[in-house]
Symmetry: C2
Amino acid sequence: MGNSIHVLKDALKDSGRRVTHKRGLILDLLRETPGHPDAETLLIKAKKRDPRISLATIYRTLALLKKTGFVEEHRLGETHAHYEAVGETPHFHFTCRKCGRVIEFESGLLDRLKLELKRKHRVDLREIHIHASGFCAHCREKGD
Amino acid sequence: MGNSIHVLKDALKDSGRRVTHKRGLILDLLRETPGHPDAETLLIKAKKRDPRISLATIYRTLALLKKTGFVEEHRLGETHAHYEAVGETPHFHFTCRKCGRVIEFESGLLDRLKLELKRKHRVDLREIHIHASGFCAHCREKGD
DNA sequence: TTAGTTGCAAACAATTTGCACGTTG
DNA sequence: CAACGTGCAAATTGTTTGCAACTAA
């Protein structure tokens, strides 16, 4: 578990940006936290280790981590954003409309979809998000 | 182009909800408008035909049309939502990070993806959104 | 030392809501 | 005429920003 400061150092060097312990903390939290925390949740967790951290810093750091490719921002059917540390395997999300649970799923079709998009429209594809919703196996049994 | 009131009547009957001019107007606009208007854009267009319509009604009607399956809400990389009348062919969106253009694309892989998701996780799938971003063919040529 | 970072509070943007009045069935 | 719909303005929610104090390099 980690101290992510050295990782950030690598990514931020030469950019004039600094590696602070708050930034490292936020990246650590994102990597440790299962699921898809929102900014508020990250603030609460962060305050336990550094009580003087503010929501503004959470947002500013999330923007930085997005730009440098460490985190992804997801819209999971709610009005606010959720965040997730970028891992090895790309995956998508399914939100249950009843219990709110988020299921992550992967598929080999993703690569083919990307390829198709690049070929057909000759775009330089940088990001792709898939979000599905409906009723999870558990909730569908008991009717809506 | 049409008067959507009879269509709404069908969908809203027995639900205690009423079929009003304003609701019909907003659905008409969504069907006539190419692209993916946001609430503000719909308000401007709506005011040309009914100057007394308000933004609150736009939002309330969009919520109703979403619930009844007439429109889809998309998050196209901006902070506010965009809306689109549900048509025959499901498609996805690609937003160019430079010029902001939204490209719609379809793929036969979509059905396979849905099938895979239903099989693997036994969910009752109601909706799936795919949003990609990067640089369109036009913008990638001239560097970032 | 000095430019980048942070907390705080205020500003913003998008959307929602309470309430009195208007309209539909 | 009873219940639902609407305009208006105020309230909420989520996020961003200006500025003075702070801190990493």
